[in-house]
């Protein structure tokens, strides 16, 4: 039995508002890396080991970037800058995927990574201006191949897929938490409230530098912060329409 299907109306990326957004206050960030650790715990991100890390195959969905100004010994550190997938409204990673494994979610307005579609061409990582994608060069999570992670395997998050070799992955804005909050709200017959849930990195941040929420609702904390005069979008000139706003120079 087939029903009449309405094809959703096509919209330019610039006309879309985005749904979930994040604000990172680099003036508050102390570079403690709690977000990096929390993200790895929440999203089953493997540690790759010494040898692969030396090949530059470390896997993180969020990292703390730091920059220098001046020549040694007159070195001045700039702010720490947590860098994660910017969930671009007009994402450079999406059109280059030959398998449609990285697609734009119509309902959540996020960049999805569909692990079971990914064939591991790594085009998306090459085309990502923020360099936030990481590739599974080996079966890092398989206790049969890496006996040393057997104990770590006991703390896998059951809500997140354990990725296998040859699959690209990246920050999902903790979509499992989004779904959980939406499911709870729906079971109670209400909308998801602002601040009801947050991403793992924002939850772990001791300085409250990371704020997460709906950016299409003007009254939420995250959209008010995002529209402050201190807001900066990274590599905005590329037209990627990032959904992460950085606050600096306060």
């Amino acid at each position: 039995m087939t029903t009449e299907l309405k094809i959703p109306e096509y919209k330019l990326a610039e006309e879309e508002s985005g749904k979930w957004g994040m604000v990172v206050d680099t003036d508050l960030c102390t570079g403690c890396q709690a977000c990096v650790a929390a993200c790895a715990m929440e999203n089953n991100i493997p540690y790759v080991g010494e040898e692969d890390a030396a090949y530059g195959r470390s896997m993180h969905w969020i990292r703390t970037e730091r920059f220098w100004e001046g020549e040694y010994p007159e070195v001045r550190m700039t702010d720490y800058q947590p860098m994660l997938c910017q969930q671009c409204g007009h994402a450079p990673c999406e059109p280059v995927c030959p398998a449609f494994a990285t697609v734009h979610s119509q309902s959540e307005k996020l960049n999805l990574q569909v692990y079971n579609r990914c064939v591991g061409t790594r085009y998306c990582a090459n085309n990502c201006p923020y360099q936030v994608r990481s590739f599974n060069w080996r079966d890092y999570q398989d206790p049969r191949l890496r006996p040393e992670i057997t104990i770590l395997a006991n703390q896998f998050n059951p809500d997140v897929t354990v990725r296998r070799r040859g699959v690209m992955e990246k920050c999902t804005f903790c979509i499992q938490r989004i779904h959980k909050a939406q499911d709870l709200a729906k079971s109670e017959g209400r909308e998801v409230e602002d601040g009801e849930f947050t991403t793992a990195c924002a939850q772990a941040c001791p300085a409250n530098a990371i704020t997460f929420g709906r950016i299409d609702h003007p009254e939420t904390l995250v959209s008010q912060l995002a529209h402050s005069s201190r807001g900066v979008h990274h590599l905005e000139e590329l037209g990627t329409l990032p959904r992460v706003t950085y606050l600096k120079g306060g």
């Binding site: 029903t3 309405k6 897929t161 499992q176 079971s187």
Partner: protein
């Protein structure tokens, strides 16, 4: 020696032999794949679903998670024992010996899950029940089967055919129900 073998392989009889070997290897592999997809390990006890449903036990009595969370859950033997300790036949029946033994030794049943989805699919029972689906819509009529089995292959086409139908003409619902990120993350 190698040369003679090569000449024999190139002769008509040799060709036929090679084809026969290739065909048998292929069919063995196909049979193996078929078997590995079909056969389930035996359950720890030959649990008759039809009998229990016939006695009026609700699905949610043993699988209560289905109404409130992602996983419906499989019962522990304490749940079995809660009813069965009051039934005289429990002490005499041969079929219930595994239950008596497990209860005496403090072991638990390790059920073999029947309705499974791969690791990269995140299925949640709650919204499906809330949407008005009944257990038998996906799991078949359990009053007709003894050992639980899948009435159909649970693949993505099967999920999507129902999702599209359920969306009706509602555009927002259709987008949500066919979005990759709804199940894969």
């Amino acid at each position: 020696m190698v040369r003679r073998l090569f000449e024999w392989v190139m002769s008509p009889m040799g060709w036929i032999a090679v084809v026969i070997v290739a065909l048998s290897v292929f069919s063995l592999a196909a049979f193996g794949i078929y078997r590995s997809q079909q056969a389930l390990k035996p359950q720890p006890i030959q649990f008759p679903h039809n009998l229990h449903v016939g006695l009026g036990v609700q699905c949610l009595y043993c699988h209560p998670g289905a109404a409130r969370g992602p996983s419906s859950g499989l019962p522990t033997i304490n749940k079995c024992w809660g009813c069965h300790q009051q039934i005289a036949k429990t002490q005499t029946s041969d079929k219930l010996k595994p239950l008596r033994d497990a209860m005496a030794s403090g072991a638990n049943f390790v059920w073999v899950p029947v309705a499974k989805v791969p690791d990269f699919v995140h299925f949640n029972h709650r919204p499906h029940i809330a949407a008005g689906l009944n257990c038998e819509n996906c799991h078949g009529d359990m009053s007709q089967v003894e050992i639980a089995e899948n009435p159909q292959v649970m693949n993505m086409g099967w999920c999507l055919s129902c999702h599209k139908e359920r969306a009706g003409g509602d555009e927002e619902k259709f987008i949500k129900l066919t979005d990759c990120g709804t199940c894969h993350y």
